[in-house]
């Protein structure tokens, strides 16, 4: 009897044990990595990377810092000697405003890529580089993807292209640069797995590696660490520089050219596996020309589209593609020998100057923009370009930022038009804060005899 009872009890215990459920599997992470920041000014702390600053015997750079809120900006200028302490500076904006920081007053040793840390926001930075014969610059970036696209290069006669690989982080970065041209993929064997030591940079001169190519697009892939690349295209005097970007199916370029003196072109690059069909819309002060051009961008064959026949004078463009493409616009005063891919060289008997400007576009319109440096380039005529590709008119308030309170400027941008607002130079102004009633894209340009520069606006997030 005892045996039977015990067996029953044991069996019941075992049955009960088997019937009990196991704990639920722990809920895993609800994220896959850090939130990828758009290169946008937001209300939080941020870091902006400026790769092409230089202050030395020949060049001067100015860091244009603008913020819509009181911030402290810490500037760090690493040295190219591994292990050396960087040069630093700090700027405090006790109220919304902007300030132009002469990099030469911090250090004067030539190339000085830097990064600027803000303890709040929205805030953004742009860098202007000048010499006796050039004017260039663009907005700095806060986003660092692992794969960068840099279209718009050229090693044809009269043009030199350089890629700067800036590693602002403490650890070594390992980078591979691959390129494509009108002839297809270029063989850049020497640029496989380049080591960029922490807090240094390296310039890659491409004319020696892949000479005499009209249209070049590069992909910078980081396998270890992180880098911030930028592309510099130089003519005989002036140069244009722009940062890398991530491909998108949509681009707005508020300024493709600022006047008829500069031949605009659009460079598209497709790093995918299938051809991308791209539609180009043109915008001027008079209105829009939708579907002005339709092109097919083959994989690994960058396409340069001459825009000069699409409109006279200042124009903005919009690109819509069925696959992600990277894009830049260039405005060249002397585009001789340039041949748009698949088009006939018309030739020219004139010998104009060689001013070049180029910039990346905005992948989305927005209602709020920050434009550090606008109207702050001494001696240059600055213009802000407002592109409204939407169907509603946009009332745009241009708030100058500087020291003290400055009067606003209100503009109405009809739908489907481009409005350029000339602003000249004002020593009291360091940048602008732009608010619109409808989504627009914004850029600014600065022009003087020695050079021209385009600077894409910084979107303000939230």
């Amino acid at each position: 009897m005892k045996r039977i009872l015990v067996v029953i009890v044991v069996a019941a215990s075992i049955y009960g044990a088997l019937a009990l459920n196991s704990p639920d599997a722990p809920v895993g992470p609800d994220f896959t990595g850090p939130v990828e920041r758009e290169s946008a000014a937001s209300a939080t702390a941020s870091v902006w990377y400026c790769t092409w600053a230089a202050s030395g015997a020949l060049r001067d750079s100015t860091a244009m810092i603008a913020a819509n809120t009181p911030v402290t900006a810490s500037l760090t200028l690493p040295q190219q000697i591994v292990g050396e302490d960087p040069d630093t500076d700090q700027v405090i904006l006790s109220s919304p405003g902007a300030v132009a920081v002469d990099v030469g007053e911090i250090v004067r040793r030539g190339d000085t890529p830097m990064f600027v840390e803000f303890d709040g926001g929205p805030a953004a930075v742009a860098v202007v580089v000048e010499s006796d014969s050039l004017l260039t610059g663009d907005g700095c970036l806060s986003r660092i993807p692992k794969v960068w696209e840099l279209p718009g290069g050229s090693t044809r006669q009269g043009r030199t292209t350089t890629i700067r690989l800036f590693n602002p982080f403490p650890e070594m970065a390992k980078v591979t640069v691959s390129g494509s041209s009108e002839s297809g993929e270029t063989g850049l064997v020497d640029l496989q797995s380049i080591d960029i030591p922490g807090r240094t940079w390296q310039d890659v001169e491409l004319n020696g590696l892949i000479p005499l190519l009209n249209d070049l697009s590069f992909t910078v892939t980081t396998s270890e660490g992180n880098v911030v690349p930028s592309l510099v295209v130089a003519g005989s005097t002036d140069e244009a520089s722009w940062p890398g970007e991530a491909p998108s199916t949509y681009w707005e370029f508020p300024v493709a050219t600022s006047s008829a003196d500069f031949a605009p072109s659009l460079m598209l690059s497709n790093n995918g596996t299938n051809p991308a069909n791209a539609t180009i819309d043109v915008y001027t002060a008079d209105g829009a020309t939708a579907d002005a051009r339709q092109v097919v961008v083959d994989p690994s064959i960058p396409k340069r589209i001459d825009l000069s026949d699409l409109a006279d004078g200042a124009m903005g463009v919009r690109v819509r593609a069925d696959a992600p493409v990277s894009a830049v616009v260039l405005a060249e005063e002397s585009p001789e020998a340039i041949v748009a891919t698949g088009e006939t060289d018309t030739g020219s008997s004139e010998t104009p100057g060689d001013r070049i400007a180029g910039t990346v576009g905005a992948s989305t319109p927005a209602s709020t923009w920050l434009l550090p440096g606008l109207q702050a380039v001494a001696g240059a005529d600055s213009t802000v370009w407002l592109l409204n590709t939407g169907t509603d008119a946009a009332t745009v308030v241009l708030q100058p930022l500087g020291s003290g309170s400055l009067p606003t400027n209100k503009q109405l941008v009809p739908p489907g038009t481009l409005l350029g607002v000339p602003l000249g130079y004002d020593a009291a102004v360091g940048g602008y804060f732009v608010e619109s009633t409808a989504p627009i894209s914004v850029a600014w340009s600065a022009e003087e005899e020695k050079g021209i520069m385009f600077v894409s606006g910084t979107l303000v997030d939230g």
């Binding site: 704990p23 850090p34 922490g198």
Partner: protein, 921 residues
């Protein structure tokens, strides 16, 4: 005989007054010697000796050297006698004649028992190289003349020693700083160094109380060390002294198991010699000044090896034979018979298997994996942390540490603060005790040694134990060694006599208390087992008595768990965490087969074991899978321990049933199947034996974190942030957005920081930082992590948090590390930093550095006013205290410390009382 005409040696008798009551008898015996002495002198013992001398009408001198100073060259010999020695009338004559004949400068008598002169005490003394005496006699050996040969010996006892006066003067007589036995050995060695012969003269018989001969004391041990240091050459001392130190340490460690406590004697002996080093140096110079021979002469009459180890081995062997199986009669008739005894074989196998099972722990201690961590560097600090001190888990707290930390710290402190030795010892002891305890427990069910041993193996290394080890439940693993004892002691026959009965209850109390210290949920298991046992034998009065004893003992065990049991939120403890046991098929089938076969085929008390075991397996399995019932991790793991015990009972019952002759036919066949199941379970114990880690998994952290110890600066001054899947993190962990992480001490965390307290200020701040990183709102994580004292971030497995640390301006990814690792690029990523930017290092749970008056030190621990020295202030979530004293520490919580002291006192009292009561008749 001296030749005619040769002057007869003149002898002065010196009676060493060690006990004045015996002096008169000794003097009377000296006076009655056939060979008359020229003078009788009482030496030593101050006024007591003088009084005794006056009473006997003889002279008194304070010391032998003083006596030597008063006797002139007419005296040829000095006869040293202990007070209480009773020489036969011809003892002196024999000494004189033989010493003259042998030309021996020192001659000693044969010593026999005063209460039984037929039995020998000593016939000369041999020593080992460490001057430990070795007599070479059996206990109470009968004097049949087998040693009646005059021969050279290493030494003779000063109980009756005839020494030539000139030699005595030359060597300066016995060393007054030494106790008698050591002084005699020392004197003889010094004499032999000078070329003198030392002989024993068996024809000279002296009666002496046996209990006073070789009354061991720390002074004798100190004296032997001093004797070695005086006579041996430096070359010999270079190896002999360290070896002597180690052998003494071994004796001190083993002796408690033999009922003696020698550690303090051992330490006092060495300390005494250090204290008297100046006099030792003088004595050594004097001893070696006129030496005629080297150390080889001293080695001539020494036994090989160590007398201490030889005696220990004999005693342990005898005790093992006696204890493992009381029913096996200990035969002294032949060594072969002893060796063939199952108990002996089982005992040897137990030790061998235990050594095999823990061999990997010897050099590295407990592995750093899961809830197993190495012990901290300081056992004293661990005890202090448990007893009201600072809990260093995470960023620190006042949360009470588990009792296992206090116990392991205490053991570590006793074992010279070696973490590895303490871990090895605890694991080894648990296995040996578990097997041994199971054998003893099985005897309560009439299960013989071999089956009991197999059951013991299954208990400590079977599938359930392996499951406990896989889950790195150190407490439960060690508790397996105590669990069978907790039941066995209660089941033992209820003794007669109130004192012995109280002692039994005390024994149950401290064993159950020890069980509870190791794994608190197991505190109730002995009562549960005894209850089931009683229910299985409802008419058995003994079972119910055992249950009552178990209950009372368990109640008295509770104070041993103070302060933990008073402070801990028991509900939280019992429900926290989760474990769910999913056994493999083979062990389930094996135990099932064994149980069913046992239920059907076994009978008698073996059947009771099988039934009890089955009930325990069922109940334990229910608890081990009781997540749904709200049972937490600790309870579930304790359920596994119950399964282990139940399995052992079933295996023991089934295996032993096979030897019973009354099972026949199909039942025997069925029993054979069940036995096969038992054999399978025993075979499965080979797995942990193979690894040698006492069922624990391999270390997962140490190699990954070892690089921190090699980094510049003091790694212990910083913390490590571990990120990765929860099952790759040690102990408890925290979660942010579903990703697990935790903070540990560098270079490797210790056992005391496995549990994380409820989140406090720094935890909230760190979580906030991690959220900022995930949201991409931080670019200088390094500076922020440095404020927590975090110097490294180590990724232990696949986690999205790794990408979060990439792309930070002040975090350097280290190449070549075993796991993805980030280094904080900041100078001050330390846990304690002064206002002068000096880093303080960790010292126990506190910090230490250069004292800096006027400066303050920030301590990156959860803010608490008990941090000091004052004035204390809270800075953010941390503490700032004065740096004037060069230390920063946590003032213990006095009530908890008092409770811990009381717990230790209660435990010690129960142990001592139970031992005392057991030995009383």
């Amino acid at each position: 005989m001296p030749s005619p005409g040769t002057p007869q040696p003149t002898v002065v008798a010196a009676v060493l007054a060690l006990d004045s009551a015996d002096i008169a008898d000794t003097i009377a015996r000296v006076r009655s010697q056939v060979y008359e002495t020229a003078r009788i002198v009482v030496v030593g013992s101050g006024s007591t000796g003088r009084h005794a001398a006056d009473g006997a009408g003889v002279d008194w001198m304070s010391s032998i050297p003083n006596l030597l100073g008063t006797i002139d060259h007419s005296v040829t010999h000095l006869w040293l006698l202990y007070a209480g020695a009773l020489p036969r009338p011809d003892a002196l004559e024999a000494l004189v004649l033989e010493s003259e004949r042998s030309d021996a400068a020192v001659a000693g008598s044969k010593l026999v028992r005063a209460d039984d002169p037929e039995r020998l005490i000593a016939v000369g003394i041999a020593t080992d190289v460490f001057d430990v005496p070795y007599l070479g006699l059996e206990d109470d050996e009968i004097d049949a003349g087998q040693y009646d040969v005059v021969r050279d010996v290493a030494a003779v006892a000063a109980i009756s020693m005839l020494i030539r006066r000139d030699l005595a003067r030359g060597v300066g007589g016995p060393d007054p700083m030494m106790p008698p036995e050591a002084a005699a050995i020392d004197l003889c060695q010094r004499a032999r160094l000078r070329g003198a012969r030392v002989v024993v003269v068996p024809s000279s018989e002296v009666l002496f109380p046996a209990e006073r001969f070789r009354a061991e004391s720390w002074r004798e041990g100190a004296g032997r060390i001093r004797a070695m240091l005086k006579v041996y050459s430096l070359l010999t001392l270079v190896w002999a002294i360290p070896l002597r130190f180690l052998i003494g340490l071994l004796e001190a460690i083993v002796s408690p198991f033999l009922g003696r406590w020698l550690l303090f004697d051992y330490l006092r002996a060495w300390a005494w010699n250090l204290w008297h080093l100046p006099s030792l140096v003088r004595e050594r110079l004097s001893a070696r000044k006129g030496k005629a021979f080297g150390d080889a002469e001293l080695f001539r009459f020494q036994m090989r090896g160590s007398a201490v180890i030889s005696d220990l081995g004999s005693e342990i062997g005898g005790r093992l034979r006696e204890r493992i199986d009381r029913s096996d009669g200990l035969s002294l008739s032949s060594i072969g018979s002893d060796l063939r005894q199952p108990a002996f074989i089982v005992g040897v196998l137990t030790v061998l298997i235990s050594l095999l099972a823990v061999r990997s722990l010897w050099s590295v201690g407990w592995p750093a994996v899961g809830h197993s961590m190495p012990l901290p560097d300081s056992g004293g600090a661990a005890v202090g942390a448990y007893a009201g001190g600072w809990n260093p888990g995470g960023f620190g707290s006042v949360q009470q540490l588990p009792p296992l930390v206090g116990l392991s710290g205490g053991v570590q402190w006793l074992l010279l603060d070696s973490p590895q030795l303490a871990a090895w010892t605890l694991s080894m002891a648990a296995i040996v005790a578990g097997i041994w305890g199971t054998v003893r427990l099985m005897r309560a069910f009439d299960i013989e040694v071999v089956a009991g041993w197999a059951a013991g193996i299954v208990l400590v290394a079977g599938p359930a134990a392996q499951a406990i080890g896989d889950r790195t439940a150190l407490g439960q693993l060690l508790a397996l060694g105590v669990l069978p004892w907790a039941i066995r002691v209660a089941l033992a026959r209820w003794p007669r006599g109130r004192l012995r009965r109280l002692g039994r209850i005390a024994a149950v109390a401290w064993v159950v208390g020890l069980l509870g210290v190791l794994a608190p949920p197991l505190l109730v298991v002995p009562v549960g087992v005894l209850l089931i046992n009683a229910l299985l034998q409802p008419r058995g009065k003994a079972a119910w008595v055992s249950l009552a004893i178990g209950i009372i003992g368990s109640v008295f065990a509770l104070p041993i768990l103070l302060p933990w049991i008073a402070v801990q939120d028991l509900h939280t403890y019992l429900t926290a965490g989760s474990e769910y046991w999913t056994p493999a098929v083979i062990p389930v089938v094996a135990i099932g087969a064994a149980f069913l076969a046992g239920v059907v085929s076994a009978s008698g008390r073996q059947l009771n074991a099988v039934l009890l075991g089955g009930m325990l397996v069922g109940a334990g399995a229910l608890v081990a899978r009781g997540y749904d019932l709200g049972l937490g991790r600790e309870v579930a793991l304790s359920g596994l321990a119950v399964v282990a015990l139940g399995t052992a009972l079933v295996v023991g019952g089934v295996l032993d049933s096979l030897r019973l002759g009354e099972i026949h036919g199909w039942r025997r066949i069925l029993l054979g199947v069940g036995t096969l199941g038992g054999v399978v379970l025993v075979a499965l114990t080979l797995v942990p034996l193979y690894h040698g880690r006492a069922s624990l998994p391999a270390d997962q952290l140490t190699d990954s974190l070892r690089f921190t110890a090699a980094a510049e600066g003091d790694a212990t001054a910083s913390r490590i942030l571990l990120v990765g899947p929860e099952d790759t993190l040690p102990g408890d962990s925290r979660v942010v957005r579903g990703a697990a992480y935790r903070v540990i001490s560098a270079p490797v965390p210790a056992l005391w920081e496995l549990d994380l307290p409820d989140p406090t200020g720094p935890d909230d701040a760190l979580e906030s930082l991690l959220l900022d990183l995930i949201d991409g709102e931080q670019s200088r994580a390094g500076a922020s992590l440095a404020s927590f004292g975090i110097r490294w971030v180590v990724v232990t497995g696949d986690t999205p948090l790794e990408a979060v640390f990439d792309g930070q301006l002040d975090l350097v990814r280290l190449g070549g590390a075993r796991r993805p690792t980030f280094l904080v690029d900041s100078d001050n990523a330390v846990r304690a930093l002064t206002s002068g930017d000096e880093t303080w290092t960790r010292s126990g749970t506190g910090y230490a550095g250069d004292a800096a008056g006027g400066e303050r030190v920030f301590v990156a621990e959860t803010a608490n006013t008990r941090w000091g020295p004052g004035p204390w202030s809270q800075v953010g979530w941390g503490n700032e205290v004065s740096a004037a004293e060069g230390t920063a520490g946590f003032s213990p919580i006095r009530p908890r410390r008092n409770e811990a002291t009381m717990a230790a006192g209660v435990f010690a009292f129960l142990v001592l009382f139970s031992g005392f009561a057991r030995r009383r008749r």
